[in-house]
Symmetry: C2
Subunit: 390 residues, 2 copies
């Protein structure tokens, strides 16, 4: 058995947003039910469950592995595991699901990513997220993770010149793409001029990052059914894994170059190698744009542009929705929303939708090979999946 | 590849206890270094890392997957994942390690379980642990998990009569066994009379459970190197997995019989079946005695005694250190200590020590087949491993 034997046979996705009155449990059950229904399987076909969830104090219930069992009495006794890798917890769950298929222990696996962030104040959510940073966890760093990525932006500007306009362009692309995604948290018709202008509606969060450079605090869940076999009752075509890779980096920031994203580079390179693919083969990328500076830097880390020249693929239209290699046609974390444990699973769902022609107004024409990039912390836990149409 | 191809080739274990001034990171590095050294491998032989950790607010840093990278620069880029299944987080890490070997993606895996609980107050640790209970998480239930297991004891007494003396006997066995374990948290020469008597030194924690019926709040880490191949440089003999199983149960207590431990029963049955073993084949069991009532009930759940008659295997000496089937010769969670994320890994380490004749004063003569049982929550996440001498 190898990675090509692992299929996405069903997917589910709640709306992302501030979903007041909807619990983690309801989000899990909603996304998982959709995925199981589309896969055309029954709950008793599920051999294993993985739940991607960060939490870090945002919810009092801190051991969510069995939440999907609320879906059906037939799931009693199924092995269920929560995996956590900060903002890459969702892809952690997906990759554990794939490994479990490859192990031969399971034929069909349910993967759910979930995060319920808006039950606490924004400050508490910020503090929870900062729990993922080795150097500042538990401190009162007021700008939280935005402050960490602001440091990346400052460093980028020192090496390569001002990026304010470029980041605004990325933000505007993201907002325009999200208008086409009914599942997205933010549906704002913001253009480049709005995103580039510091205003009451778009204040500085952590210089140089403005509000429009930051992903929102969101609730949501996404789910996949992975299997080595497609059910005749499936209502969606399958998608195949062609490569997966995961690489972790050192925790202390002093041991990392702030722009290198070493782990992302490693994971990207290994997954592309496993897939025997080059950039020219890719139809679409969903990458981890928790902040616009992350997207800009990732153009370079993933090899779309040389170091310091990421803006070029933006300016020449390469990464636009109708460009040669669209990046984040879903709106990305920035505008689709970033319920952290759900994000990686959501990216895989969006990729599967693109590869099966089911992406609606987001559809990239003729998409046949998609890359997903998801990272936790400041490129600490890095996951890449390459998925293809069958 | 099947489960028998997975070997424990090295192990490490810190002292368990209140380890003031020692961080999670130091515990991880200590246990992992020991395991790698005994396995006779180099850090760059490690293909994947799993970290079992519960946390739930006991430490501000909430994303520990990369902590083992502090051990060596050669671990940069290795995929590292934290898994969590409450008090079974350690076995969750072990089982993910085994699955990863079976997947063919990795040849050698480092597994570390860690918990640092004593940096917060006892009340805060209790509240953190209660985070694993669906019904009471976030409430001010003063007796915490002891209250939940007290309910099990009350139910047991209603069905089968008083258990105070039996629990005291289990506690005394545990304390006496732990005196032989240099890694144990509690080295107390408590006899049955002391454990049976409510006193200032042994107060009621949650009736009918006394202090001596409860595992302590501990710090500690344990590690394993798992591999499909033994290094010629290994300083310890390998141990082979013969069966593994994992079963989750429903979260709401209303959906579970308090004594059934359905998931534990399922996991035990499946693992024994995979191992093609019966109770008569087993040399030793390390089981999840977070409270003495759990050990008593597990005698019945795992089939050592019929329902309601668990005390018999205690009275006839079966489960004694020198009995036919010793249970928890390490002192168990009760006296060895229960740093929750470390516990499951610790149980596997102790089993490996028994199976290789390295258990010192704890040694069970001629031990050749060992069972590990670890559970999270009130039998929500349940893991069983059957390990054998090679």
């Amino acid at each position: 058995m190898n990675v090509n034997d692992a299929l996405v046979v069903g997917y589910g996705h709640t709306k992302f947003g501030k979903l007041s009155g909807t619990s983690s449990e309801q989000l899990v059950v909603d996304a998982a039910s959709q995925a199981i229904a589309r896969a055309g399987v029954e709950p008793n076909d599920i051999d294993a469950i993985y739940v991607g969830n960060f939490n870090s104090g945002m919810q009092p219930f801190s051991s969510p592995s069995s939440l999907p069992l609320q879906l059906s009495g037939d799931l009693r006794g199924v092995p269920a595991t929560r995996v956590e890798n900060a903002c890459a917890s969702g892809s952690a769950a997906v990759h554990q699901g794939v490994l479990t298929l490859l192990s031969g222990i399971a034929r069909t696996v349910l993967v759910v990513g979930v995060e319920k962030m808006t039950d606490v104040t924004g400050a508490a959510a910020g503090a929870a997220l900062l729990g993922a940073d080795y150097d500042t966890a538990g401190t009162a760093a007021p700008a939280g993770f935005a402050g960490l990525f602001a440091n990346v932006a400052v460093e980028y500007e020192q090496r390569y010149g001002p990026v304010g306009d470029t980041l605004a362009e990325i933000a505007a692309k993201s907002h325009q793409n999200a208008l086409r995604n009914p599942l997205a948290h933010l549906h704002k018709n913001y253009d480049r001029a709005f995103c580039a202008t510091v205003s009451e509606a778009n204040p500085i969060v952590a210089g140089p990052l403005r509000r429009t450079d930051c992903s929102p605090v969101s609730d949501g869940a996404a789910a996949l059914v992975l299997s080595t076999q497609r059910s005749a009752d499936a209502s969606v075509p399958p998608v195949r894994f062609r490569g997966i890779a995961h690489a972790n980096d050192f925790l202390p920031s002093a041991k990392r170059d702030p722009l290198e994203f070493y782990g992302s580079q490693q994971a990207w390179h290994r997954a592309m190698q496993m897939a025997e693919a080059t950039l020219d083969d890719l139809s679409v990328i969903e990458l981890h744009d928790c902040f616009t500076i992350a997207e800009l830097n990732l153009y370079e880390v993933l090899g779309l542009a040389p170091r310091g020249r990421g803006r070029e693929v933006l300016h020449d239209g390469t990464v636009a929705r109708d460009g040669k290699l669209p990046v984040n046609p879903s709106g990305g974390l920035k505008s689709k929303g970033h319920p952290v444990g759900a994000t990686g699973v959501s990216q895989h769902v969006l990729a599967a939708m693109q590869l099966t022609g089911a992406a609606g107004h987001m559809q990239v024409d003729g998409a046949s090979l998609a890359a997903v990039h998801n990272m936790g912390g400041l490129a600490i836990a890095n996951y890449v999946s390459i998925l293809e149409s069958v």
